[in-house]
């Protein structure tokens, strides 16, 4: 099995603060991992480290076959990160934003239109500057960038936050599609009942590392079991 992410006692610093204090984590290609945990547990830092944005200063960190401790820039083009702050230019429209992001990676722009359609961004919305969009629309646009780029590793930081029911359903199907096409997905969430059903596996982070791992649950019954197990453990998941 190919590993998309392989971390061993990985430490990453945010300034002088150990955002990751020794993460052990493996994510296989085609696997969906949900990362739960309270604020400040290191979820966002984990995603940013996977994307090669935050340097890993000790331990092992290999993402998509690239050793991040040697060169963390190589992997960037191949991962897709949906961050808290969508990477959109306020003055550009949805269409222009997605087109720029796709062209920047050197890909063709033929997938831009379908990607916007997929996220329900059609008609006038495409021509609206990002500054005038709602938070949900901005997130949809940011997701459209990922869809158009088709990364090998999806890193979704709280993909459900600020989205309506319709968009949440889209997120769910996007995750499934990505996984079935062989990409790995790591998503964080504060809402276990939304994240766990999507995941093959659940990791609970605390204190900058993975404190707990569970096989996850696609499907209602499995989800229920994991949620119950996690609550019995008295693990702080949200």
């Amino acid at each position: 099995m190919d590993l998309a992410v392989h971390f061993r006692t990985a430490v990453a610093l945010a300034g002088r603060f150990p955002a990751l204090s020794g993460v052990d984590l493996d994510v296989a290609a085609g696997e969906v991992l949900a990362v739960l945990g309270p604020n400040g547990a290191g979820k966002t830092s984990l995603l940013r480290a996977c994307a090669g944005l935050v340097p890993v200063t000790s331990g092992e960190a290999v993402v998509l076959g690239c050793d991040l401790r040697k060169d963390r820039t190589l992997v960037r083009r191949r991962v897709g990160l949906l961050g808290h702050a969508p990477s959109l230019y306020d003055e550009l429209t949805a269409l222009e934003n997605v087109r720029f992001a796709v062209r920047a990676t050197g890909a063709g722009t033929d997938r831009v239109g379908p990607a916007l359609d997929r996220l329900g961004l059609a008609g006038r919305l495409r021509r609206t500057p990002a500054a005038r969009m709602s938070a949900g629309q901005r997130r949809r646009t940011a997701l459209a960038v990922l869809v158009a780029r088709g990364p090998e590793l999806w890193l979704l930081d709280e993909p459900h936050a600020g989205l309506d029911a319709d968009a949440r359903a889209i997120v769910g199907s996007l995750v499934e599609e990505a996984a079935s096409s062989g990409a790995a997905v790591v998503l964080t969430s504060h809402e276990p009942d939304l994240a766990v059903p999507l995941a093959d596996r659940v990791a609970v982070m605390s204190g900058g590392r993975v404190a707990e791992e569970r096989a996850g649950g696609r499907g209602a019954a499995a989800t229920e079991r994991v949620l119950v197990a996690l609550s019995q453990d008295d693990v702080d998941v949200a």
């Binding site: 020794g22 000790s58 900058g208």
Partner: protein, 278 residues
């Protein structure tokens, strides 16, 4: 820093003190006043050596360390600390160059300041490296700060010849290199030459000593940071452990094959914060 380095620092410091004192004694009491400039010429025992340290030793060293830091193979915070120390000392010497030059200029030319090539480019150099120090004071991750400062120092250094060249094309009335005039024998003779040579040695030693001491301060500050980091890392690691220990591992029937299950992460030693980075 090892005891030997500290010992070397002390020896250099002592030598700097002795040579400086000797220069002062020779300069003020032993050497005769110069023919034209009279006793003013005594400033020559200090001004050129100070300028030499500022313009060549300090900023040359800063540029060299910046290059070595930016070059991947030699990247080490050693160069960052060294470069920063050199710039800081260099700024002091540059300021002294301007002050001693000004003291000389007032009685000689009748003005504190003239817009000559040398004065202007030296002043600009001072401002450039003050910018470097301002940049350095902005709090940041040591690695980030080092990178930023290395680029700033290098860009400033590249600017120096351009500045010197461009200001040089301004009409200049400054004396051109009196001592190092090519094709001429030394114009300064006897005891005066000796004293000036000693001045160069003294100022260089003072520079080396100051850089060594400054480096040590920088190193200790970094070390405090590293120790704090180790403490906060183990605290954070422990934070994760309490959660994991509270959890009762459940044997789930549908465990994903190949994936590490359970709480393997909870045991094991606290990792090194900066594995082999320094």
């Amino acid at each position: 820093m090892t005891a030997r380095v500290r010992w070397v620092t002390r020896v250099i410091g002592g030598a700097a003190l002795v040579t400086t004192a000797l220069t002062v004694w020779l300069g003020l009491w032993v050497t005769p006043p110069a023919k034209v400039m009279g006793t003013l010429a005594r400033l020559l025992y200090l001004h050129p050596p100070i300028a030499w340290v500022a313009l060549y030793c300090a900023f040359g060293l800063a540029a060299l360390s910046s290059v070595l830091y930016l070059w991947r193979r030699t990247r080490s915070l050693f160069w960052d600390r060294l470069g920063a120390s050199a710039v800081e000392v260099g700024v002091v010497f540059t300021a002294l160059t301007l002050v001693t030059g000004s003291l000389w200029g007032r009685p000689t030319w009748g003005v504190w300041w003239t817009w000559t090539a040398r004065l202007t480019s030296t002043a600009l150099l001072l401002v450039l490296f003050l910018g470097y120090l301002a940049l350095r004071r902005v709090p940041a991750d040591p690695d980030v700060r080092a990178r930023r400062c290395a680029v700033a120092a290098l860009v400033a250094f590249v600017d120096v010849p351009i500045v010197a060249f461009s200001v040089d094309w301004w009409q200049t009335l400054h004396q051109r290199g009196t001592v190092l005039n090519p094709g001429l024998t030394l114009k300064v003779h006897g005891s005066m030459a000796w004293t000036m040579g000693l001045g160069f040695l003294a100022m260089t030693l003072v520079f080396v000593w100051m850089v060594l001491v400054r480096y040590r301060v920088e190193l200790l500050a970094d070390r405090i940071g590293d120790e704090e980091l180790e403490v906060s890392l183990s605290e954070r690691w422990a934070e994760g452990a309490t959660v994991a220990d509270a959890a009762v591992p459940l044997a789930l029937p549908d465990a994903v094959p190949g994936a590490p299950t359970g709480r393997g992460a909870a045991v094991g030693p606290v990792p090194e914060p900066l594995g082999g980075r320094r």
